[in-house]
Structure formats: C-alpha cells, structure tokens
C-alpha cells in the first residue's frame, strides 16, 4: 500500500485543494509535489500530475459539418480553382491576402489579426487515407484517430486521459455542449461535459433537499471503505469513471458522486466569480469559449477543453452561410486569445480546429459544395509555429481523387505534434502507431 493514497486522503486532498472550497484557485506547488511523492509510480511513468497553474492546455474546436477549405484559405491565383467554381470562386480586393497565391476568406478578419501577431498556424492539406464522405464516419475517424477501415471504441483525447492523466481529478477534460464528444470516450472516462454551468449541479425546488442530497452522497455516510480495504485502490483508480477493480459498483458510484459534488461547486463558483475581459460574439461558439476562458481563469486543472461550432454542411447557398460562420469563428477565437492574454494564460493555451472533411473542388448546381476530403486546419497560440505549414494540395484535375483534394498531411501527424510538443506526452500509446509529430510549436 506504500504507493497508494487512501480514499480518505484523496477526499481531503480534493476538498482542500483542486476542487475544494479553498480560497486559492490554484494548487500550490508543494501540494503537487507532495502528491507526486505520494504516488511515485505516477512520477516514474509517463503519468502527469496536474498542477493547475502551469500545465499546458489544449482547446479543440470542432467545425462540424465539413468546412469548405478552399473558400477558407483561398487559392485565389489558381486557374483550376476559378474554373471549378465559376459562381463560388472568391476573388477581388476583399480577400485577405497571405501571399501571392493564398488568401483568407474576407470574413476571417479575426484570423488575420492573429496571423499578423504571429499567433496562428494554417496547416494545409490535412486528411487521411481512403477518406470517408459520410459525416458520421469521418467525424468518428477524426475523433478516434482510427484508420478509415477500422473502428476504435475510444477517442484520441480519451486515450490521452487514459495514458497520460492517471491520477488527475475528474475534470481532466471538459467539453462544452450537451453530449460528450466521441474524442473523449475512454476506458476510464475523465471528461465531463456541460452546457450550462447552472445545470451541472443537483437541482432542487424544495428547501433542505440539497442539504440532504449532500449527506446521502457523503462517502463516509454511505459507508464507503477508506483505509485497510482492497476496494480503495490507488489514486489512479479512484478517479471518476474508473472500473471497479474489486470494489463494488456502489463504491465506484459513491466516489464519482463525491467528484460530481465538488466539481459542480467549483465550476459554478468560477463561472459566477471569474470575469472575462474580451468582447465575444453572442453566438454559441462565443458563449462556449467565454466559459472556457472563465474555467481556465478560475484555475481548473483541466488539460483539454472541447468546443464545437455547427453549420458547415453548405450544400446550398454557401457564400453567405460560410461567411457568417467564419466571421463568428475568427471573432470568437480572437476574443478568446485576448482574454487569455489578459489573464496571463496565453503561453499555456493552444487552440486547434478540425472539421470532418473539406468539400468537393467543383461547386454544385445549388450554389454550394458537396462532401470532399482534405482541408486546412488552424492552430492558435502565442507559442505556435506561425504561418503556413505543409503544402497546399494540387487543384489540377489529374491530381484529384474522385473530384476531391488529396491530403498531404495525415491529421494524426498533427495530433502527434500536439501530444508530443504541446501536451508533452508520448503519442505512440495514444495513436497506436508511430506518426511523425508535426512541429506545431
């Protein structure tokens, strides 16, 4: 039992530090060190002990529906582009030019500022072999980092939690939204999702009900064994979502109930107290990123946040619809970066976008584009390797695959870069295969 922290210890630890109602938002370094010392197994392995105040943070931003990459980062000087898109092709002074060949969509003024400040990387031509044109399947591939002919039960971020976050608190990952994204699915789930911090709590109408709920879910009251009992495992096996490992299902749920109680108190507290500085758009994405900014500012030890923006499935009347979305994307991201800067957290934060696929090179007959393949993604932060990364895929008809752009860079190389260079963890056990990490920072 030398390397194990009893439930009692953990309870106290959580209560007084990471999630408890202590006055300090962040965990003092000595406590982090104590925890590390108490759990030397964790210190010896690739396991990361979160400290809340200095660990890097990844914000994953899903552009759901399949964003048209060619009208986002526009190859405005390319004849093939204009031939394939007589109506949708973008040209003229409004384009935000990056160089003699490429320009941002005019709506991406937010990205332009970030680009000029050296805080934005455009990773070009990202995709994967044998691309699927199904939203469902291709999203699944991106979320699980699987090969297109294999199904993986767990998400890539879930595998990150499983492999690298043992011993951390139940909020290793927070998804803003109603459903836990597949990327968070894990053998031992450590992610939570919340729409509205006001609902991430025990809701009750009657007086005294909440107090009784707290008593009924108190692990001591429920008689959950603490010391000298096999069901109280090491701290790693106590985190929310961990399997029973010899304990009973009720013991497991009791521990999760305690985590729920404390994380809910903490998150609501932060959401109410922490002020944000920047002007976010009133959109869903803006609201989500604002909440993320508050949670980061409040010192949660969360390593991964997940936000999502929908509506990119532009089969018809794409021009206006995509412009509105990109404007929202650029403005919300820019506001978030300003907020992080004001908080002093910008050096810790990296935002990465993804979309399940790009769209067909040729426009369709309804003023839109159909499901395609490779597309650019964006990485934002002040330590990012700014500018254009990778190679733009060729638009020459002979270079297309069934009318779609061919990828130059597997998205798993980007994931590997983020895991290795930003989250500082080995990507092999998470991606299941060696991918050359794209140097993103």
């Amino acid at each position: 039992m030398k390397n194990e922290i009893t439930l009692q210890t953990r309870r106290e630890f959580l209560r007084t530090t990471v999630l408890g109602s202590s006055l300090s938002w962040t965990v003092p370094a000595f406590l982090a060190n104590t925890l590390t010392a108490l759990h030397s197994e964790a210190a010896d392995s690739a396991t990361q002990i979160v400290t809340g105040s200095d660990a890097t943070i990844l914000v994953v931003l899903q552009m759901a529906g399949g964003n048209d990459g060619l009208n986002t980062v526009v190859p405005y000087a390319n004849d093939f582009y204009h031939r394939a898109r007589p109506h949708l092709g973008l040209s003229g002074d409004k384009l935000i030019k990056l160089n003699d060949e490429l320009a941002f969509n005019p709506a991406l003024s937010g990205f332009k500022s970030l680009h000029d400040a050296g805080q934005l990387a455009v990773v070009q031509g990202v995709g994967y072999p044998n691309p699927s044109r199904s939203h469902f399947r291709s999203t699944e591939i991106w979320q699980t980092a699987s090969a297109s002919d294999r199904s993986e039960p767990y998400g890539w971020l879930g595998r990150y939690f499983d492999n690298a976050c043992a011993g951390s608190d139940p909020t290793a990952g927070i998804a803003i939204g109603g459903q836990l994204p597949q990327a968070f699915f894990a053998k031992h789930p450590r992610g939570i999702c919340l729409n509205n911090p006001q609902n991430y709590r025990f809701l009750s109408k009657g007086a005294g009900t909440e107090e009784s709920y707290r008593k009924l879910n108190d692990t001591e009251m429920a008689g959950i064994p603490a010391e000298d009992d096999n069901s109280g495992g090491s701290i790693g096996s106590l985190a929310a979502g961990m399997p029973m490992q010899g304990g009973s299902a009720v013991d497991f749920i009791s521990r999760t109930a305690m985590d729920a109680q404390m994380s809910s108190d903490k998150i609501r507290d932060i959401a109410a107290k922490v002020q944000t500085q920047a002007a976010y758009p009133g959109s869903q994405l803006g609201t989500s990123l604002k909440l993320v900014a508050k949670l980061i500012g409040g010192g949660l030890p969360t390593r991964v946040y997940y936000v999502s923006q929908g509506g990119y499935d532009t089969h018809t009347n794409q021009i206006g619809a995509q412009a509105r979305l990109l404007k929202d994307l650029g403005d919300a991201t820019q506001a978030f970066v300003q907020d992080m800067k004001a908080q002093g957290n910008l050096p810790r934060v990296l935002v990465m976008t993804f979309s399940e696929f790009g769209r067909r090179v040729s426009e369709n007959a309804s003023g839109g584009t159909d499901h395609g393949a490779a597309a650019p993604l964006f990485i934002v932060g002040n330590r990012v390797k700014a500018g254009l990364l990778g190679k733009h895929p060729s638009l020459a008809p002979q270079d297309l695959h069934q009318g779609d752009l061919k990828y130059n860079l597997d998205f798993r190389n980007v994931y590997a870069g983020v895991l290795e260079n930003w989250l500082k963890t080995k990507s092999l056990p998470i991606l299941g295969k060696a991918f050359e990490p794209l140097p993103v920072v």
Binding site: Q182, I192, N195, K205, Y213, M221, A222, V250
Partner: protein
C-alpha cells in the same frame, strides 16, 4: 457448476433480482407474486413468455412504402434542384419523426408491455448488433430489425446471425449492400467474426478477405426495401475460410462461424455479462457454452439454466450491476407505477444519460457497466429523478432533444415543443398506504422495499429521516421529495 439455487434460498430479494435482471423490475406486488411461485416456476414464467399474448400494434408506417420510393426516384431523375432539396428536407423530417415514434413505441413496450424479458433480450441484441440511425437513416429498416430481434429473441443462434446479416438495416450499416464481386467490402465480413460471433484473435485477416468474397451477392433491393441475393455479383470461386476450402456462399460463412467452438463461448459469455453484470470466469463460461452446445445453439435452455443457477444469485452478483439509462428510466417508471414521460422527454433523458436508442456510439455498441457513470451523467440521473417523481420538465438542452451539431439550430423546435409537454409524476396515494404516509419510519421502510429491495446504510437512513422530520406535517410534495432523494443516491444507480 450451474447447480440450481436451493428452494429454501428463494425469497423476495431473489425474486426482485430475477425481475430486475431478466426484465426491468416492477412494483412490490409483482416481486411478491414471483417470490410466491418458487424459483422453478418463477424462471419458467419469465422465460416462457410466449404464453402471454402481446397485442402491441405496430407503428402505422411499419411496412414497405413503394409509392414514396417511386416519388423519390421521379424527383431525383426529373426534378429541379429546388424540388430535390425540398423532397430531401421532407424525407429527413419524416425519418426523424418516425424514429422518435419508434423509440417511444419500444420504450413503452418495455415499461408497460406484458413481456419485459423479451424486450430485455431485444435490448441485448440491439446493443450486440449495434446498428445506428445515424447511418441507416430509415425508420422502417430499424423497426424491422427491432422486430427481428423480438421474433428470434430467445430462439436459435445460427438462425439469428443469418437473419441479422440479411437484415436491411445491417446491409446498410456495415456496407454489405455495396459489396460486389468486383469490389468486395470487408466491413460486415470482419464484424460478424470480431464483434458478433467469435471475438478478436479467433480468425485471420485472410478469413476476413475470403468471407467478404463469399458474402458477395447479399445485397439490398432498395425498391422493395428488402434483402435480395444477386448471383451476378457473387464471387463463386473457391475460398479458404476458417481452414476449409470450397465455393462458399454467405450462408456457408455463417454456418462455419457457428460451427467454431469459440462461437458458443463468445455469445454465452456476453449474455452472462449482460444479465449477471460481470464477465463469467473461464470455468463458468465453459459450463455455459456446454449447455448451449448441448441444446443445439438454442437460447432458452441456456437462459433457464442461468436464471436458475446459484452463480446468478451469489452475493457478488446481487445489486452490483450499474443500471443502464434505459434500465434506470423504465425500471423507475415500473417501480413507481408512474407514466413513462412522452417520447421526446424519455428519449432526451436516456440520450443525456448516454444511451440513445437506435444510435449506439459505434459498431461495438455501449460499453455498459461503470462507463454509464460520469460526474455529469450522475448529476443528470439525480435531476431526472426529480422530473419523474415530481412531474416537472427535466433540464434538457437542444442537443439532448435530437439536435444535430452539423446543422445549426437543430433541436430548437423540439425545445419549443417541450414547453407544451405534460409530465405525470408519482401519485403518492397509489404507492403508499395511509399508515405509511403518516409514519416516517414505515414510509422509509416501504420505499426501501420498493426502490432498493434492501435497506439503506444507517447514516443515510438517518439523513433521510432528518429530512422528513424537518417537515412539520408530511404532505405529498415532501414524500415526493423523499422519493427523489432516495433515487439520488449511489445505491439507486445499481440493480
């Protein structure tokens, strides 16, 4: 090994265990009736459900619709882009509405239908052959598959595996409909071995390729909305599959898979895990597989043996299974004798809790067990309990109500509709006697028997009695709050 539980050990708690696991639980009088039967008769009553008529009518649209398909074809051939788009919108809406109706129809069968064990088996097969509306997008196909699982719920394994493979929803789900001699698709060929019948490590990559060739010709007649065998796209050449060479057909593939001794171990182990809440030991799995093989791959003798066995009633199995969201919802409604919320709300709840019917997360289905419990699903269970008991609307977001992230604004309509929904709530006078309502100790004992079939821990009981004692005069609202509190405990999440 698998000896019957002695009659003397049979009691209210054991009967409740059988009713909970081989069904969705029930109110005390149902448990008592099962307890009075004794173990032999109780198990037979559950397993031999055919003698109980089930008059549930099918949804009105649950049949092929050639006229609609003809219209779609015509518009797609001759329509303007606007007409095509309009039709697509209508079709999407139609399928969404039907799917919601289908989910409600099935949940209602589980909650008030006369054959809960059959429905529990249908739920097992749905999780096993995990087929999702996200790809199939056809409510009729999904209903058909659901009916197939019901019809063959406890019949023969080979028959079920064969029919499940030829089922339209499956043909679409695992791409068999697109497979042909020129381009054999390996999706179904792989999963039928890996996920449905053998498990990883019991076949080779070569077996997958060869099975895919043998299965060509199995496809979907989209106009008639049913399976069709097309000899012209079948690869009739010789294949070597699981060690044998011949001009195998799809049927041969299924037959040879079932002939593997591993196939009996695999499915009996998975069934035990579903009902007992934990995987069987090697020894127990061997015993279960032997019973299954001895009966020629029929499920009933196996299930009867399982539900009669001492192993099924041992202490480590009792009250040690995390309720699935469906079990939680349907079980609560049955135990509390209250109405199932309208489909939109019921489906929103179980979706929020992680089990969207007809939309399992992937081809492996739901992981189950402790994976149902996260901090947010636990809080959601506690809050949904308030809605069920007090008849208030649960805190559901647009996403819980079926909104899709890829289309902006999805679910808002449902959110508006939600405002008009009427919830039932628990009628206190129906489930408690006047004496129980007047006496706090009797009240708690009665509710423990109804909700847990076992007493709460001492400190928890005190907390509950303190809560009741803080009320000067117990009214129905207070009793509802007490029921909700009892459901907001770790103990209520297991069965």
């Amino acid at each position: 090994m698998l000896k019957p539980l002695p009659v003397r050990d049979w009691n209210y708690a054991m009967a409740a265990h059988l009713l909970n696991r081989a069904g969705f639980g029930g109110p005390p009088r149902e448990i008592e009736a099962l307890a009075d039967r004794g173990p032999e008769s109780a198990v037979n009553f559950v397993v031999d459900y055919e003698s109980i008529p089930d008059p549930t009518p099918n949804p009105a649209w649950a049949k092929p619709d050639p006229d609609r398909l003809k219209k779609i074809r015509e518009v797609n051939q001759r329509g303007t882009p606007e007409e095509k788009k309009q039709l697509q919108r209508e079709e999407n809406q139609l399928q969404r509405d039907r799917l919601m109706e289908l989910r409600g129809w099935w949940l209602q069968r589980m909650a008030v239908g006369p054959r809960p064990f059959q429905e529990k088996m249908v739920l097992f097969w749905h999780g096993h052959f995990a087929t999702s509306a996200e790809k199939v997008r056809n409510a009729y196909y999904l209903w058909r598959q659901n009916e197939l699982f019901r019809r063959l719920a406890t019949q023969n394994w080979q028959d079920l595996l064969l029919e499940a493979g030829k089922d339209p929803a499956m043909l679409v789900w695992l791409d068999q409909a697109q497979s042909s001699r020129q381009h054999p698709n390996e999706n179904f060929a792989r999963e039928v071995m890996e996920l449905f019948a053998l498990g990883e490590g019991h076949y080779s990559e070569r077996d997958v390729t060869e099975a895919a060739r043998a299965l060509t010709g199995w496809t979907l007649d989209r106009a008639r909305e049913k399976f069709v065998y097309r000899p012209q796209i079948h690869d009739a050449g010789p294949k070597t599959f699981l060690g044998r060479t011949g001009n195998w057909s799809g049927e041969d593939v299924i037959e040879q898979i079932i002939a593997q001794p591993q196939s009996a171990r695999f499915i009996t182990g998975k069934l035990w895990n579903y009902f007992a809440g934990q995987p069987p030991s090697e020894e127990l799995n061997t015993g279960l597989a032997a019973v299954f093989r001895a009966s020629g791959g029929h499920f009933k003798p196996l299930l009867r043996t399982m539900f009669r066995s001492e192993e099924f009633y041992q202490a480590s199995v009792l009250r040690n299974q995390v309720k699935s969201p469906v079990q939680w919802l349907v079980g609560s409604v049955r135990a509390l004798e209250c109405p199932l919320p309208p489909p939109l709300v019921s489906c929103g709840m179980i979706r929020q809790l992680g089990q969207d019917l007809f939309a399992p997360p992937n081809v492996k289905g739901w992981d189950g067990g402790t994976s149902w419990i996260t901090t947010n699903t636990l809080l959601a269970r506690y809050n949904d309990a308030e809605s069920l008991v007090q008849g208030t609307l649960p805190p559901l977001g647009a996403g819980d109500l079926g909104g899709k992230t890829k289309t902006a604004g999805g679910g808002k309509k449902a959110l508006r509709f939600l405002q008009r929904v009427r919830m039932g709530g628990v009628e206190v006078g129906k489930i408690l006697t006047p004496e129980e309502r007047a006496n706090q100790s009797l009240l708690v004992v009665s509710l423990e028997r109804r909700l847990f079939q076992s007493p709460l821990k001492g400190d928890q009981k005190r907390a509950l009695l303190d809560f009741l004692a803080s009320r000067t005069h117990l009214n129905d609202d207070d009793i509802q709050a007490a029921i909700r509190l009892m459901m907001s405990t770790p103990q209520y999440q297991v069965t």
